[in-house]
Amino acid sequence: MTDTSANRPGSATSLITPDARTKRRNRAEARFKVYGITAIGIGLLFLVVLLGSITVNGLGAFQQTFVNVPVYLDPAKLDKRGNRNIEEMKKVSTFGYNPLIQQGLLDKAAELGIETPLKKRKQMKAMLSASAAAKVRDFVLANPETLGQTVEFKLLAASRVDGYLKGRVQRKDVARDKNIDAEHLDLTDSLVAAGVVAKTFNLSFITGADASESRAEQAGIGVAMLGSFFMMLVVLVLSLPIGVAASIYLEEFAPKNRWTDLIEVNISNLAAVPSIVFGILGLAVFIQVMHLPQSAPLVGGLVLTLMTLPTIIISTRASLKSVPPSIRDAALGVGASKMQSVFHHVLPLAMPGILTGTIIGLAQALGETAPLLLIGMVGYIATNVPDGIAAGFLDPNSAMPAQIYEWAKRADPAYYERAWGGIIILLVFLLAMNIIAILLRRRFERRW
């Protein structure tokens, strides 16, 4: 035998020294490994770049610059009749409060001995957010007895001042900017040194409402978050029972015939339908035919339910299928009805898979923007915290991704930062939901 093998070409080598062909195959394998590692590396690189740019651009939104201004609440201006009647005091609009606040800041700067060429009250306007007047007015209307006193307020700084402290507004750009001058930046530097202007954690970005174009510094994502929450509630309450019922019937009870095949194919097709299509459907059916209110989270939830249903049905059917037939046979064998076998034995075992599918479906719905554009959830909408559960479903509101889209469109560059900040919050939610899905699977999954 050794003779014949010795005569065959290429068999002269031993196992220890590989021949040319083996070498080639080994090289091919090594090359493939390199390709694979490169592919993973590129993927990771994109992830790092993505997360890095999100963090770099968005972290600024979580900090905000505030100015501590002592404001003399002048009764002669704010309560002209002097009888402390709230209804009469309401007649003084926020525009009546602005001069007092600006004077307050001017006096504060003078008191600290800060040299500044800005001597006029009106020049202080560029330092403070337009929201300041509303804050002081609300305070005065809530505490009319403070009239005549000097009260210190922690007011938002204007978005340009905030941008200067965050490095977004550069001194070289200021010369062409009509919203702020270099003198304001000098004053800001002095006030920072004096501790009057300071950058602190910005809770109201997470809890607050949307703001208008002219006050980016005030905008928060809180109300849009509630909008998303109510939408997800609608999606969960509708799509879970409907999806599970549909899949149990299709998987366990339905006869196999042309009709069920057709339904199955259609469910798979539905899962691949672009979400914007559901948006148009929602506009046509829910708003124009059923006359549900525009921009309402209820409508948003209904549209997203349509989008989520196929995902949930498919994952539920997969997890029902993965329960071994022996469980069903055993249940039937000891005399359980078909329904008992499903609900007492199959469904509990399939539950972790169903929940995982549901959570992933919800996470998808949470990040969906396109259908919301069509049902009026983009714009200056998320302005009021809904008062009550019904209002939460029916009052106009936005949703987190729609709010981010809206911010990214706005003119003030400060909104750009807020859009990135919103993305961070949205990603945290998505991450949390995916982690819950993984934990549920780990905790409850059974293997056979």
Binding site: D138, S212, R215, L238, G376, F393, A411
Partner: protein, 342 residues
């Protein structure tokens, strides 16, 4: 599972009862994305100063806003349409067909349209309407004859302009800004270069010649931007040789990235626009459905507040943001107070 079912049925009931709709108590506004910033500033201040809830302002373009506005009377329809152009005859007709017969037109002020380019880009500092027409029109005048546009560079027809390839980002047709761009820039350039006369002389009817004037080359040098000015800004950022059409307010918020060109020698600013020296400006409007006044709480108050001196006056927050205030504001205030329909 029972609690889930309970919640599901409760929700279904809520959905059905919402159809009968509890009375809407907030003003709903939709329309021009140019007016949106102003409307949002007003809505915010309105919510702060009145006991009514903050109005909801959606964007989507003047035409889309007016279309929704004209869909009918009733709570499910919007109360106010923002527009960066005047309502058209056929839109008034469409409104009337759906029962929206009384419309109050409110002019809030003027907005300048500017041509801007990358701050560090080529030196686009002075344009005339003829330059824009020569750059973008499919047929232009060369040596007194109407010919297919031969120009590739700005310097081909105006030696003062840089030798850069022509690339312009102009508003898409659903924007009201497009109409102003066509009317005040392209059409004016068409007449100034003599192309309009040449077309008439070639036997076109006046209407056809006007339409032909407004055409732009479809070879990629004129890019329609259907989104907002941020999209135009992004396109300018990516193309150093591009010029873009912006609103004055948007430009003023982004002076760190953009530089603006003069038009016929006049630099755009609130002053030159209010005096009428700067040629490319347009009035901004909103339209109020009169049938909704008294039904939707706060609607009239919102309209009055919008054009009050505190808001729309020359010292108000709208002027600060970039609106050129209307010298005839007092007349508009009277008209809104008296609810004068068109």
């Amino acid at each position: 599972m029972t609690s889930v079912k309970l919640a599901a049925s409760a929700l279904a009931i809520a959905a059905v009862s919402a159809t009968a709709a509890t009375a809407r108590d907030n003003v709903q506004v939709a329309g021009s994305s140019t007016v949106l910033p102003y409307a949002s500033i007003v809505a915010e201040a309105f919510g702060e100063n009145f006991d009514f809830p903050t109005p909801v302002v959606e964007s989507g373009g003047s035409s889309a806003g007016l279309k929704r506005f004209c869909q009918g009377v009733g709570e499910e329809h919007t109360d106010v349409a923002n527009a960066s152009r005047k309502i058209r005859e056929k839109e008034i007709k469409a409104c009337a067909e759906n029962g929206v017969t009384e419309i109050i037109e409110v002019r809030i002020g003027y907005d300048g349209i500017v041509f801007a380019s990358q701050l560090d880009g080529p030196d686009y500092s002075a344009f005339t309407q003829s330059d824009i027409f020569n750059a973008l029109a499919p047929k232009v005048m060369v040596d007194g004859k109407l010919v297919d546009n031969p120009y590739k560079m700005w310097s081909d027809f105006n030696a003062d302009l840089p030798a850069e390839e022509i690339l312009a980002f102009i508003p898409g047709t659903k924007h009201g800004t497009r109409e102003v761009f066509e009317e005040k820039v392209v059409a004016a350039g068409c007449e100034a270069t003599g192309a309009f006369e040449a077309m008439m002389a070639a036997g076109m009817s006046e209407d056809d010649a006007e339409d032909a004037c407004l055409e732009v080359m479809a070879d990629g040098r004129a890019v329609d931007i259907d989104g907002d000015y941020t999209e135009t800004l992004a396109s300018i950022d990516a193309n150093a040789n591009g010029i873009g059409v912006f609103g004055l307010a948007f430009y003023e918020n982004n002076t760190d990235k953009l530089k603006v060109a003069t038009m016929s020698g006049v630099a755009p600013s609130t002053e030159t626009i209010s005096t009428g020296e700067y040629p490319v400006s347009r009035p901004l409007f909103f339209y109020v459905k009169k049938a909704h006044i008294g039904v939707i709480p706060g609607l009239k108050e919102y309209a009055e507040f919008f054009i009050s001196d505190d808001i729309a006056g020359s010292d108000g927050p709208l002027a600060e943001y970039g609106l050129v205030s209307d010298p005839a504001l007092a007349d508009t205030q009277d008209a809104v107070y008296n609810e004068d329909a068109m």
